[in-house]
C-alpha cells in the first residue's frame, strides 16, 4: 500500500521556518494537490518528500516504512521538476530509460519500457530527438514519462504546468489525471493555481506560512473552509470585518461599522467578539427587485462594472461597505450600469464567519 505519511515535518532556513510541523497522509492511489501562496513552503515540502532536502524534525513513511533518512536514489519516488530538468545531452529515449539503466536493466527491457512510456504520454516516434528539439509541452510529457518509467511508488510534480500556455495547461490537467488514473499511482502535485488544484485533486492540502490549513476534497475546501485563511484564499471572496452582536450555536449576527447586520455561520463564535464574514462573489445575487427570500439583503448602488467574458463583476456600495457580485454573462441575468440602484442578497450558509 503506497501510502505517504508526513508527521510533524519541520524545516528551518536560517531562522525562517519554511515548513512548520506539517502532518498529512496521502492515501494509496490518491491524487493530492499542495496549494498555497508563493513562499508558503510547497516546494520545500515536496523536496523533503523526494529526499533532496532534509527535515529538521519529524518523520516520513512510505508504504509503512520510515524513509526520513533514505537518500533520494533509494526512495523509488518519481519527480517532475518545474524546469523539467531533462538531461540535455541525452535523447528523449535515453532520458526516459535513465532510471532503468541505473537499475542495471537489460537493453531490450529498457527499449520496451521506453516505448511503453512514450506511448503513455503520446509521444510515439520522438525517442531519437534531443530535448532542445521539443516544444515545452512535449518536454513536459518527456519529464512525466521519465518519472513514470521507473514505476515509482509515488509521483511528485512541482508546478508541472506553469510553463505551458493556458490552453495546453487545461489539456495537460486532464492528461495527467488520465495517466495517473490508468496507472493507479499515488501522486502529489504542487501548485499555486487554485483552479488547477480544484480541478485535478482528489484532495487539496492548503498551506500557509509552512503550516497545513486544511486538507479535504475540492468541494469541501471551497464550500466549507476550515480557517479564515482558506476562506479568504480560495475563490473570489468579499471579506467584511465587524463585531458579533448575537450568537446562537453555529450561527451569528455580525454588525459592520457602517450599520449592516449580516447573518452567517461559523465555529467558535462568541458575542462581542471581533470577526470577519466571507462571501464568495458568485454567491451574491444582484437584482433590481428586493430579494425577499434571502436573509442577507441590502439596497446598494453599483459603482463599477468589469466585463470578464464568462461573467460580469459589479462592485457595489452599501452603507459604507464595498461588495463585489459576480453574475454569469447570460441573458437571464439582469444587467446594470455604474450608478444604478439595486439589491444585494445572499443566504446565511454562504456567509462564513471567522472569529478574529
Amino acid at each position: 500500500m503506497p501510502e505517504l505519511v508526513l508527521s510533524h515535518v519541520t524545516r528551518r532556513f536560517s531562522g525562517h521556518t519554511a515548513v512548520d510541523d506539517l502532518s498529512l497522509t496521502v492515501r494509496d492511489g490518491e491524487f493530492v494537490c499542495l496549494l498555497g501562496p508563493s513562499g508558503c513552503g510547497k516546494t520545500t515540502t515536496l523536496r523533503i518528500i523526494a529526499g533532496f532536502e532534509r527535515a529538521d524534525a519529524g518523520s516520513l513513511t512510505l508504504d509503512g516504512a520510515d524513509i526520513t533518512a533514505l537518500p533520494p536514489e533509494k526512495r523509488e519516488i518519481g519527480v517532475v521538476f518545474q524546469s523539467y530538468a531533462l538531461f540535455p545531452h541525452k535523447t528523449v529515449a535515453e532520458n526516459i530509460g535513465f532510471g532503468l539503466k541505473m537499475r542495471g536493466r537489460s537493453r531490450a527491457e529498457i527499449a520496451t519500457a521506453v516505448e511503453q512510456a512514450l506511448a503513455l504520454v503520446r509521444l510515439d516516434g520522438l525517442g531519437g530527438r534531443y530535448p532542445r528539439a521539443l516544444s515545452g509541452g512535449q518536454q513536459q510529457r518527456v519529464a512525466l514519462a521519465r518519472a513514470l518509467a521507473i514505476r515509482p511508488r509515488l509521483l511528485l510534480m512541482d508546478e508541472p504546468l506553469s510553463n505551458l500556455d493556458a490552453q495546453l495547461r487545461e489539456e495537460m490537467r486532464v492528461e495527467i489525471r488520465r495517466i495517473q488514473h490508468s496507472l493507479g499511482i499515488t501522486a502529489v502535485l504542487v501548485t499555486h493555481d487554485q483552479g488547477e488544484a480544484l480541478a485535478m485533486a482528489d484532495r487539496v492540502a492548503v498551506m500557509s506560512q509552512g503550516r497545513l490549513q486544511q486538507m479535504a476534497a475540492p468541494a469541501e475546501i471551497y464550500e466549507a473552509p476550515a480557517t479564515a485563511f482558506v476562506g479568504h484564499f480560495i475563490g473570489q471572496v468579499n471579506v467584511l470585518e465587524g463585531r458579533l452582536e448575537q450568537v446562537d450555536g453555529r450561527t451569528g449576527l455580525l454588525a459592520l461599522p457602517g450599520g449592516l447586520k449580516l447573518a452567517g455561520a461559523g465555529q467558535g463564535l462568541a458575542a462581542g467578539q471581533a470577526a470577519r464574514a466571507m462571501v464568495k462573489q458568485e454567491r451574491i445575487a444582484l437584482t433590481r427587485a428586493e430579494p425577499t427570500g434571502l436573509p442577507n439583503r441590502f439596497p446598494c448602488r453599483v459603482v463599477e462594472r468589469t466585463y470578464l467574458g464568462g461573467g460580469i463583476a459589479y462592485r457595489c456600495a452599501a452603507a459604507g461597505a464595498s461588495l463585489t457580485a459576480l453574475l454569469p454573462n447570460h441573458p437571464l441575468f439582469e444587467r446594470f450600469a455604474p450608478g444604478d440602484a439595486a439589491w444585494l442578497g445572499w443566504t446565511a450558509a454562504d456567509c462564513t464567519i471567522f472569529p478574529g
Binding site: 536560517s14 529526499g51 533532496f52 533520494p72 536514489e73 535513465f98 532510471g99 521507473i150
Partner: protein
C-alpha cells in the same frame, strides 16, 4: 549622402580593426617571417627563404628534452588546476551557499594578482624552509597555482549554464552521487573542463617567470632553455622555436572554438 557616410564609417571601423590586429599580431608575424630568413644575425634584413633554422632545432637535444619537460609539467599542472577549479566552482555554484560567494571567487582568483616571479620565489622559500628540494613537483605546483584561476573562470562560466536540478533528477531516478557525476554533471561540463585544461596547458607551457627559480638541469622547461640560449647568442633558430609554439597554441585554440564553441573571451 547618408549611404556614403555609413560606408565611410564602415571603412574607418575596418581600418581601425586592421590596425589593432597589426598591433597585436605584427610582432608575431615578424618573428614568424624571421624564422624563414637565412641571415644568421637577428634582427636583420630579409635575404630569402630557408627551413634550415627548423632543421637546426633538431640538432639541439636540450630543446627537445625541454619540450618534453614543459609538456609534462603543463599537462600535470593543467590537470591539477582543472581538478581544483572544478571542485571549487561546483561548491561556489551550488545553491544554498551563504553569502561570501563573491569574496570566495575573488580569493581563489588572487594568484593572478601576484607577480609570477614572486610565486616562484615563494615556493622555493617554502620548500627550503622545510629542508626539501623543490624539484619537479615544486615546478608543477607553481604552475598549477598560477593557472588555476584561469580554469576557475572558464568552469564557473560552464556552471552558470548548468541547471543543478538535473542532478536531483538523476538522484530521484536511482543514480547515486557518483553515477550522477559520471552520467550527468561531468558530461554537461565537459566543454568547459576541456577548454580549462587546454588554456591552462598553453599558459603553463609558455611561461618563463614561474620556472626561473624552480628549474634545475634535469627540469629545464622550454622557455628556460630559450632564455638561456638567447643570453649567449641571438639567431633565427629561436624564432623558429617560437613560431612552432605559436602554431601549436593557435591550433589548439581554433580547435576549441570550432568543436566545443568555447572561447577564452566571449
Amino acid at each position: 549622402m547618408r549611404g556614403s557616410i555609413r560606408a565611410l564609417g564602415r571603412l574607418a571601423g575596418g581600418l581601425y580593426l586592421l590596425l589593432l590586429y597589426l598591433f597585436v599580431m605584427g610582432p608575431l608575424l615578424f618573428v614568424i617571417a624571421t624564422s624563414f630568413n637565412p641571415a644568421t644575425s637577428f634582427p636583420s634584413r630579409f635575404e630569402g627563404f630557408t627551413l634550415s633554422w627548423y632543421a637546426a632545432i633538431l640538432e639541439r637535444p636540450e630543446f627537445l628534452a625541454a619540450t618534453g619537460t614543459s609538456a609534462l609539467v603543463a599537462a600535470l599542472a593543467a590537470a591539477l588546476a582543472v581538478l581544483v577549479a572544478f571542485l571549487a566552482a561546483y561548491a561556489l555554484s551550488r545553491q544554498g551557499g551563504a553569502g561570501g560567494r563573491g569574496a570566495m571567487a575573488t580569493l581563489l582568483a588572487s594568484p593572478l594578482l601576484v607577480p609570477q616571479v614572486v610565486v616562484s620565489l615563494a615556493i622555493l622559500q617554502l620548500a627550503s624552509s622545510f629542508g626539501i628540494g623543490t624539484g619537479f613537483w615544486g615546478l608543477v605546483a607553481a604552475h598549477a597555482v598560477y593557472v588555476m584561476p584561469f580554469a576557475l573562470r572558464l568552469i564557473l562560466t560552464g556552471f552558470a549554464r548548468f541547471d543543478f536540478a538535473v542532478e536531483e533528477a538523476s538522484r530521484s531516478l536511482g543514480g547515486g552521487p557518483l553515477a550522477t557525476w559520471r552520467e550527468v554533471t561531468l558530461p554537461l561540463l565537459r566543454p568547459s573542463l576541456v577548454a580549462g585544461f587546454t588554456f591552462c596547458f598553453i599558459l603553463s607551457f609558455v611561461n618563463l617567470p614561474l620556472s626561473l627559480f624552480l628549474t634545475g638541469p634535469e627540469t629545464a622547461t622550454l622557455p628556460i632553455v630559450m632564455f638561456a640560449y638567447i643570453e649567449s647568442r641571438i639567431d633565427p633558430m629561436i624564432a623558429a622555436v617560437a613560431s612552432l609554439i605559436v602554431l601549436a597554441a593557435a591550433t589548439a585554440t581554433l580547435l576549441l572554438d570550432r568543436f566545443l564553441r568555447v572561447r577564452l573571451v566571449d
